[in-house]
Symmetry: C2
């Protein structure tokens, strides 16, 4: 029975009866506190200690005297992956609960303050109190605060409490109707073939969209945003970023559709967050591998790709023995493309591959295209995951997310993808898997080369841009980044530009390009510099050097263009640049560090994920305070 039901006419009477009964039974229990007859307070405390042996970040505290709030509290605890504890009376935690709360502190497991990946930062849990101060007195909250706990009360009772808790546990899904200006689908890496993931919102959009919001969401393996680089001491400044990119947070950027931010994390989960508040709408259970792609959304399904970067020793030996001629299959662990219902998070289908499925798929006309570490391009039925066809790419795909170009005359759609070993860009007919052309440049491609980077497509001009590290100098340990523009119909090289020599960056070595209004904007982690090039001839128009990029370099994710400003996430910072000159207009350090992450701009907000396993919303004005967002009516970037 409950103290606080939803009739508002009799709470006081019920409260009185309930309180008296609780007091009587509570005192009667003290003597029965043996293992064979624990009271629920003690039982819950013991269960929490056993269930969270190394502590927890979140504890939900509920009154033992109110079943309604217990039911709500357990839902919140499940949501927060935290422990439920019960108070013995409105005025006291009780011995067992106090003991459990101490035990649930996350232990410090290193002698230094080193942050360890996949290990929550040491400290006391955040305590959520469910119920008003009649159920759990203010003094209890104050006592906890005085002991150094962060305390949040979800107050009220009856319907108000239900509303408050449910708002956190199962917040309503945003809809297209309430989130005007958000794209309604996301069919290629970075939202559209030119990689301009920026969406103006109409005048009818809600104020939060226009003005911008700021929030942070910690995913499962999140390390503190202000912490130094995890594992720096163990792997060193060059190798720690590699491990982080491939195993900790997000390798690439988020997806924004109909007011939802979708993010694929290396912690093996897909997250759906409310774009306005950052609240978790749903997350999947752990999938089969790390998730390094940009979620693709179409027709209310989210497509997610899972894969890893490794080679088995047998492939190492085979490759060495063949002097680099034997074909390689990348990916050791289970690899798959998953389709989830975009609204409910329910798994709809899954297709497994031999060889990793790291790159982002392309959605086009009820088909999902995925290039794999097994060296094939797969065409899957978007509704069922059934194979339509597969085509050998004559090289394995590392992280080259495919792109699409539709020939305006013939209406033939090309799926474009880069491969490693052999290194080339290949165009495949989306309808039937026929190879249309293969471009292997005469450049001296190095390392994962063309297979790491996603081509950028200018649909209007019929131009494809790709870049790759080239000209490796073994002695100096330097390389160059070459960018080349191809004719989208035949793959003919239109121009090539080498961007500059520098130390070989670890891990992902290329920069994603944005094409906007006749200019190619691209970064080079070799030189930690952003370049603007004339799309017609490759002439360098300006350079912007990223300060303090460190030995991993910066400049991997593509910039985006919005409101007459070029926006960029590079190293630990966000930048606003003048697209005409490269002059810095503003910057902001939101915490953490960015991998191949492109900003996603909707209205006045930039959405990002990072290598520290967080998703963030940053109001554009934090980066560029004097920004003027021109009012307009729904000028939105195109997507297929």
């Amino acid at each position: 029975m409950s103290l606080h039901r939803f009739s508002i006419v009799r709470p006081l009477l019920v409260l009185l009866i309930g309180y008296l009964l609780a007091t009587v039974t509570g005192s009667a229990l003290a003597s029965e506190n043996s293992h064979s007859a624990l009271n629920p307070v003690t039982a819950t405390a013991r269960a929490a200690e056993r269930l969270f042996p190394s502590g927890t970040r979140n504890v939900v505290l509920s009154s033992a005297a109110d079943n309604d709030s217990i039911a709500l509290a357990q839902a919140l605890a499940t949501k927060l992956s935290g422990a439920l504890l019960l108070t013995e009376s409105p005025h006291a935690l009780g011995t067992a609960t106090a003991h459990a709360l101490r035990t649930l502190t996350i232990p410090k497991v290193t002698t230094s303050d080193t942050v360890l990946p996949f290990q929550a930062a040491a400290g006391k849990p955040h305590v959520y109190i469910v119920g008003d101060n009649k159920l759990i007195d203010t003094a209890v909250a104050e006592h906890l605060r005085s002991r150094g706990y962060q305390v949040t009360r979800l107050s009220g009772h009856g319907p108000a409490l239900v509303r408050d808790v449910m708002q956190r546990v199962a917040p309503p899904m945003p809809s297209a109707a309430t989130t005007a200006g958000f794209p309604d689908r996301w069919t290629v890496y970075a939202g559209n073939p030119s990689h301009n993931s920026a969406y103006r919102v109409p005048a009818s959009a809600p104020d939060w969209e226009k003005e911008g919001v700021s929030w942070r969401f910690a995913q499962d393996a999140a390390v503190p945003l202000h912490a130094p680089f995890p594992e720096l001491k163990i792997r060193g400044p060059r190798r720690a970023p590699v491990a982080m990119t491939q195993n900790l947070g997000e390798a690439v950027g988020v997806t924004a559709v109909n007011g939802v931010i979708y993010a694929e994390s290396d912690d093996s989960h897909l997250y759906a967050l409310d774009a306005k508040s950052g609240a978790l709408l749903w997350k999947t259970s752990a999938l089969a591998n790390t998730l390094m792609a940009n979620p693709i959304v179409a027709n209310n399904l989210v497509y997610v790709a899972a894969g890893d970067t490794g080679f088995p020793f047998s492939q190492v030996l085979k490759y060495a023995r063949s002097q680099g001629r034997a074909p390689l299959t990348r990916g050791l662990q289970y690899s798959a493309v998953y389709a989830f219902n975009a609204t409910t998070g329910r798994l709809v289908w899954r297709h497994d591959f031999r060889g990793e499925a790291m790159p982002t798929p392309v959605y086009y006309r009820h088909t999902v295209y995925e290039a794999t570490g097994g060296g094939r391009l797969w065409a899957l039925d978007a509704a069922t995951g059934k194979v339509k066809w597969k085509t050998p790419l004559h090289g394995f795909d590392s992280m080259s997310s495919a792109n699409i170009y539709v020939n305006p005359k013939t209406h033939v759609a090309e799926i474009l993808v880069g491969t490693t070993d052999k290194n080339h860009v290949i165009a495949v007919n989306a309808a039937n898997g026929t190879v249309l052309w293969t471009q292997k440049t005469p450049l001296k491609i190095f390392n994962t080369g063309m297979g790491d980077n996603s081509p950028t497509v200018d649909q209007d001009r019929g131009i494809v841009v790709q870049d790759s590290v080239v000209d490796f100098d073994r002695k100096a340990h330097t390389t160059n980044l070459a960018i080349y523009a191809m004719d989208a119909q035949h793959g003919k090289i239109l121009w090539t530009r080498k961007l500059g020599v520098g130390h070989v960056p670890p891990a992902y070595k290329a920069g994603l390009a944005l094409i906007h209004a006749g200019i190619v904007y691209v970064g080079s982690p070799v030189t930690s510099t952003i370049y603007a090039l004339n799309e017609t001839n490759g002439e360098i128009l300006w350079r912007f050097h990223i300060q303090h990029a460190g030995p991993a370099g910066a400049g991997r994710g593509n910039p985006v263009y919005a409101y007459g400003v070029l926006w960029l996430a590079a190293g630990p910072k966000l930048y606003a640049l003048d697209p005409k000159t490269g002059r810095e207009l503003g910057d902001y350090k939101p915490g953490g560090r960015f991998g191949i992450v492109n900003p996603v701009i909707v209205g006045g907000t930039m959405y990002l994920d990072n290598s520290y396993d967080w998703v963030q919303a940053v109001a554009l004005k934090k980066i560029y305070p004097s920004l003027q967002i021109m009012s307009n009516n729904a000028v939105r970037a195109q997507s297929h």
Copy 2:
């Protein structure tokens, strides 16, 4: 307030009042069932749907009218990683709960019945009803059963219910006092240097130990035991077992200490199970990588090793360019040795490495030794994880768990380990890290060779046995397995025996040896045969061929000797063999398939884990019904 508190004198009165109130408030709520004022039944149901978007294997059903049982039910739900739902009345689920229950069915996501790793088998959840039929009527349970749900009721009320639920949620930890015959620590791979993980129990041991128990425990990524090999269709019969060994279930066997079975799974968790019942005592949160070692236990700490098998592309290129001369570092993801409190599961320390930490550590005199994919042997303080010293091994360790030999004259302890590339067995002084000797046989070692296998040590005779694949024939794609015995003091080869030519097995290619009473028992996955060899000269005494081993071969885990019988886990089967002749005495197919798994025998029970992500106890009599367990007093295998 509760219907059933613990005083036994007033339940009927309270029940009556409670029931009336529940009825009144329940009916009052129906009209308020909008999003802004959900009742707890509906709120809990909606939360469950949102929290388990792709269903769950377990649902815990509790009465909305009893706060005590809700508190217990939520603890059980957390334990089972399942959803909590509430009944609207004793007689009905209510609309919202019925809807949620349907939604919580795990969807079928393939068009075939293919079992997918890291994806629960499709179907309805198991429903646990918490409370007696006054809280949830028998008709509700019957209704659920008629709809195809498996239903388990945890009945009783008050203290009896608490006891019943707590027995599942936080079962008492077994102690050395109640589990006579179990070893009290586990210091090397397979329990002792000779790899004879068999423990007789004294006459004073409880009956269940002597007679043997049988149970099964499904870990987080468990696939159905009766299912065909997962991923067979995608990777083929040779490659599917490789992925499974390295990414799905347990690569090697379990640890049995003081009545607890510890198992490290590739699903990234360490599990502690009750040896008598198979109940989960605790499990860790997800660690940083796959766990392929045999847990080491000493002084109430459990040492766990996390690492993966991959190489980055840069290592592939470097190795090819150097024509196999460049040193390799294995392991891409985060790698660490963890120490957990053996009783509570609490993390005590963690030490991270560059290069994987797949092999099992050795515990000796307050020091934990770990050989890594970074090619070093590390000596860590067992209490704190602080580095005492590290020594280069001049080759990387793949899966070669170290072993120990103590010179009876000098009392110098040697840590023995095999490495790959370069291939050798190396002995390091446990006190200071000095290399004592290195044995690189003149044999033509192949693939991961000596770095995959753990040396076996005969402490009494001062002999070390190691084996490796040799003589790879590229055209025939065949290899041989060579076993060699070394003098433990100097590493001098005493004898070598090639066990026979066969197809190259995928993945782990060696067999772990057992030394018992002057005989070496070892399997070869090359020939899928178990051999008995004279320890003095390597003469083959008998052979036992494992039928239907399939293209992956069988014979990786070491046999164990107990009660005059040789016990073996190979392929899908458990065998009892006559150790004198190799004649089969009995076999049993417990479901699933075994990797490098050695049986662990305590009294009348064999404890195992498998590639399907299950832990199992099998009474020895199931394997060999006419077994006579000789009564004796605590003749226990030695461990350091």
